[in-house]
């Protein structure tokens, strides 16, 4: 059956709540409203108020209480209404949750999932467009996911819920209803830590994740047709722990890498990817590792500004051509 990306998320939550009574969801407006984006739609009716908890506006509490329940064996899935507000829970994530197992000498677990609707391109402006993943990919103890397909949205969320460590799960708002796919019914899990080759190619490699995967695939179709370029596309899916082998394999294969993400350039996750390649695939590179990302500004509101700042298919096409011509 064809479902949307957000339905994939909703199904994952529902199935995991059915499978394991320790799974519960908590966040602002996740109950009767079903969440600002309807990710938790129907869960209140199905599982009741004790397992679908509307909270006050208190992000630190939401994450912190999730930690408290998780450490006692529950599997909370907490929602940030927008990923942008994750900054308000920052300490609870990077210090409380991420160090929990470590500071207990391995004698405690924190199986907590933090869902964060992220991403730009919906006129959300500065505070409803952020892609904050790189704040978390530098924090040991966390896992960081960024699904780009309906299948992965569902399968990675199920994996996250079953994982014994804290996971920050970035879902992309622009994909919620724009992305539809016919995925197998019932239970499946997408393994954490494994990238997926979305397209094989020989001339160059694109490494991307989340909101820019489809833009990249569109661009690849264009250059395949117009320029007869064969471009490989690697979807990272998991950013921490990142699949280094897959990154290095595609880099070594084509010798030319373009890293693409919607987050800003400077300090974005692409910097780490580029640095890994530059260090470990140096001998196989035929061109500089290029990065295409949002410009180093906040995501402005006015359409001409937003468009100027964000990556898009055309910009990716240009970058492919220029790198191919190197």
């Amino acid at each position: 059956m064809e479902i949307t990306y957000i339905q994939g998320i909703n199904q994952a939550l529902r199935e995991e709540m059915q499978r394991d009574e320790n799974v519960f969801v908590m966040g602002e407006d996740v109950g009767e409203l079903g969440g600002a984006f309807k990710a938790t739609d129907g869960l209140l009716a199905a599982f009741g108020e004790e397992r679908v908890i509307d909270t006050p506006i208190a992000e630190a509490l939401i994450v912190g209480a999730g930690v408290g329940a998780a450490v006692l064996g529950m599997r909370p899935v907490v929602e940030m209404q927008f990923a942008d507000f994750i900054s308000c829970a920052f300490d609870q994530i990077v210090n409380m949750a991420a160090t929990l197992r470590y500071r207990h000498g391995g004698h405690a677990s924190c199986p907590l999932v933090i869902r964060a609707p992220s991403g730009a391109g919906v006129h959300g402006a500065l505070f409803h467009s952020q892609n904050p993943e790189a704040w978390f990919t530098r924090v040991p103890g966390l896992k960081v996911l960024a699904p780009a397909t309906v299948y992965d949205a569902k399968g990675l969320l199920k994996a996250a819920i079953r994982d014994d460590d804290p996971v920050v799960y970035f879902e992309h708002k622009r994909l919620y209803r724009s992305l539809k796919d016919d995925i197998p019914e019932g239970d499946f899990v997408v393994p954490i830590g494994v990238a997926e080759l979305r397209q094989e190619g020989t001339d160059l490699s694109i490494i991307t994740y989340g909101g820019t995967l489809n833009q990249c695939l569109d661009a690849v179709r264009i250059v395949a047709k117009e320029d007869r370029l064969s471009v490989e596309v690697l979807d990272l899916r998991t950013l921490l722990p990142v699949d280094r082998e897959a990154i290095l394999k595609t880099a070594r294969k084509t010798g030319k890498v373009l890293v693409v993400h919607e987050d800003r350039l400077t300090g974005g996750f692409g910097a780490e990817v580029a640095a890994i390649i530059a260090e470990h695939a140096f001998e196989d590179l035929d061109a500089p590792v290029r990065r295409l990302a949002a410009l180093d500004a906040h995501t402005a509101f006015s359409p001409p500004l937003e468009e100027y700042i964000l990556p898009n298919t055309n910009k990716i096409v240009d970058a492919i051509r220029s790198l191919a011509a190197y």
Binding site: E28, P56, A58, A125, A297, P304, L305
Partner: protein, 340 residues
């Protein structure tokens, strides 16, 4: 507003006719502006998140009218009225909402996330509650510079749950800073009703936790809000330390224009519609002997004209140029930058 203010300061207790009509005009202008924004949003001329304050006009009006130029006001996401009563030009405000160049943020940010510091209106972020510490810092500056000014921070009852609110109020209490905290308690935070937000009835009771006074007032009663604000701000300005005013109110629209607000009870809405601040104030004006029908028509005509001009101005204004996206991140030529 400064002009009106002068009249009120002259020591009269009964507001003068013109001043009372000015208050009426503001409420009507805010309501008309809100309605126009909703319409423009449906027409896709304003996009992104839009939060109507319809039903809560008496608060922005009653709180801001007694303020002074130079006072620092940090509005809530629903406080379009603050901008208007503080004197921001309707055209610029409309341009802001449409992402146009003359908007407060020059197209950078959306809706009310743009400030006009010349008129003492701070542009908040979306992170609810985060402007309360900022207002407290503004008050600290007023104190340090011996300025006879105050800071006003608006927040929703939902926002009152955030840690920043606590940190800000506590510090304001310790230093007896000139801050007025204004809670607009409209019974919902998005879909979440009061009883899921707090175990108490009145947010104003929290003031005691910080060593200052908290007051409850009907936020739909313009005169009540105005009079209380006058008394309270006089004390704050005189060095009496912070106080809190909690305005009980209700929003007529959904949380945002995207929200049908199905989680609300129809009866509840009906009850609150019967407390619409505008007819309530009209009733008062009538009691005062005004020809309300005439005044209403005149005011409607005036606000219509103002809005028409504002929309035209905004629509005819250009979008910012794409490259402007990289402007305004830093001061143009900092004296400390070694690379100029």
């Amino acid at each position: 507003m400064p002009e009106a203010q002068t009249k009120r300061e002259a020591g009269e207790t009964a507001p003068r006719v013109e001043y009372e009509l000015q208050l009426y005009y503001w409420m009507k202008l805010i309501r008309a502006f809100e309605e126009r924004v909703s319409r423009l949003h449906r027409q896709n001329k304003i996009f992104g998140g839009v939060y109507s304050g319809a039903g809560q006009e008496a608060i922005c009006t009653g709180i801001c009218a007694p303020l002074q130029p130079g006072d620092f006001v940090a509005p809530l996401h629903r406080d379009l009225g603050v901008f208007l009563v503080r004197g921001v030009e309707p055209g610029r405000l409309m341009a802001q909402l449409m992402g146009k160049e003359p908007g407060l943020s020059r197209g950078k940010d959306s809706f009310l996330h743009g400030g006009d510091l010349e008129r003492g209106v701070f542009g908040s972020t979306s992170m609810l509650g985060s402007s309360l510490p900022v207002a407290v810092g503004a008050a600290l500056k007023f104190r340090m510079k011996r300025e006879n000014l105050i800071a006003v921070a608006f927040f929703g009852e939902g926002t009152s749950s955030r840690g920043d609110v606590h940190e800000a109020m506590n510090f304001a209490g310790v230093h007896k800073l000139p801050v007025l905290f204004v809670c607009e308690n409209n019974r919902y935070a998005y879909s979440t009703p009061l009883e899921k937000q707090m175990a108490i009835d009145d947010v104003a009771d929290r003031a005691a936790a910080y060593g200052f006074a908290g007051h409850v007032v009907s936020g739909n009663d313009l005169l009540a809000v105005f009079d209380l604000t006058e008394r309270v701000t006089k004390r704050i300005r005189a060095g009496g330390g912070p106080e809190m005013i909690e305005c009980k109110t209700y929003r007529f629209h959904g949380h945002s224009e995207h929200d049908a607000a199905l989680y609300r009870d129809k009866d509840e809405l009906l009850q609150w519609e019967s407390r619409d601040p505008i007819p309530l104030y009209e009733f008062y004006l009538e009691k005062r002997g005004h020809d309300v029908k005439r005044i209403r028509d005149e005011t409607d005509a005036r606000t219509h004209q103002v809005l028409q001009a504002a929309v035209e101005f905004a629509e005819q204004s250009p979008y910012p140029k794409p490259e402007e996206a990289l402007e305004d991140l830093y001061a143009a030529s900092p004296s400390t930058d070694g690379r100029r």
